[in-house]
């Protein structure tokens, strides 16, 4: 770079994109915004997320390549940007790889259990014991009806304090918030705020 000859007029020979390109991108971006909103109104299951991210990426490419002129710029700048995205990807991949494969290996059967599945299984057990009333770990504990069967202790402790967020203590109840699902408010004294194990009868 530094060895560039320059002829004194210090002329920038930068490409000036045609205004038409900008208008086109502007229109495209507005159109894609409509698309992404429209698609989100329809339930496509997991594909909603996929479409939303796909559309956002197309929009991002339009902004990056045209508005930010990467298409005509020195290759180095695009490389710098792409390089940064690689590091973002690394951050995602390794963090999520841990969080979504976390659990424990059963020393007897050698099977691997995901912490998340454990929590779901625990919730099912409680639901069964309560005769089908939905139970969610992390739910404010004052929603537990009186004389509730204590949820069984989690299976042999995964050595993971953070593996099952919320499993060791229910979230503190928001002050004064009545349970919105119509469940009877817990009688006084039956709602220890910090434990998933209310007093046994």
């Amino acid at each position: 770079m530094s060895q560039h000859d320059h002829d004194g007029s210090h002329a920038h020979s930068h490409f000036v994109p045609p205004a038409k390109a900008y208008w086109g991108v502007f229109g495209g971006l507005l159109f894609l915004t409509v698309v992404t909103v429209a698609v989100s109104r329809v339930d496509l299951g997991p594909f909603n997320m996929l479409v939303a991210m796909g559309v956002a990426t197309v929009k991002a490419l339009l902004v990056g390549l045209i508005f930010m002129q990467l298409r005509w710029d020195e290759k180095l700048n695009g490389t710098v940007f792409g390089f940064g995205l690689i590091f973002v990807a690394l951050f995602f991949i390794f963090t999520l790889a841990d969080i979504f494969s976390r659990g424990y290996v059963d020393p007897v059967t050698d099977n691997h259990y995901l912490a998340r599945d454990q929590v779901r299984a625990l919730e099912k057990d409680v639901e069964k014991a309560r005769g089908g009333v939905k139970y969610e770990v992390g739910r404010p504990s004052d929603e537990l009806p009186p004389n509730e069967v204590a949820p069984p202790a989690p299976p042999p402790a995964p050595a993971t304090e953070g593996a099952a967020p919320g499993s060791e203590g229910a979230a503190p109840a928001p002050e004064g918030a009545a349970p919105a699902d119509g469940a009877a408010p817990a009688p006084e004294g039956a709602a220890p705020a910090d434990g998933a194990a209310p007093a046994q009868p």
Binding site: M1, A11, H12, V16, V25, N48, V88, R116, E136, A180
Partner: protein
Amino acid sequence: MSTVVRHEHAHHFESAEQEFSAAKMGMWLFLVTEILLFSGIFVAYTVFKNLYPEMWSEASKQLDWKLGAVNTVVLITSSFTMAMAVRAAQTNERGENKGKIVGLLAATILLAGAFLVVKYFEYSHKLHVGTLPGEHYFFPGIQAANAHIFFGIYFLATGLHGIHVVIGMSILFWVLLRARKGHFYNQYYTPVELGGLYWHLVDLIWIYLFPLLYLV
């Protein structure tokens, strides 16, 4: 109106071309750091969306997608006026485009202001009904547990983005003041260009935030 202030490149550069190219590369590196800054929020988003999927979609419905969409359009438009402002500077030979540069920059700043006004209404609504982060959360209308985490991430993401909008506005205002003095022409428009890059990045991040927060 018809003249421009000629730019002299700094002494430690060999040429204006080298100066421009270095400045631009520096800006792109800076943008990368911004992306990595936001990536932390996106990672946290992904983690908690997958840990509490039902809560997430329930909480997301508390956001007004119409306001989000309006703001998306506002930001896209501002990005467009910004791109046109850079173009006006690039084609400005003897100061004939000065009014255009200044006008387009002013439009960009105004649109950024509009974005913040909409955000203000969104925030004040949330303050009112209690869809707030962490221990300040008191909204009764969400069945699922842990909704305060969604709003924690919502406020962090939009708040950090909002700060970037404010910074962007100040930068563009400084650029506007210099443009009024006729500092920018086809041989020198680095601040317009770099301010523009920054502004497009703010738009870029919103392009992802909008569907992630409002439309899931």
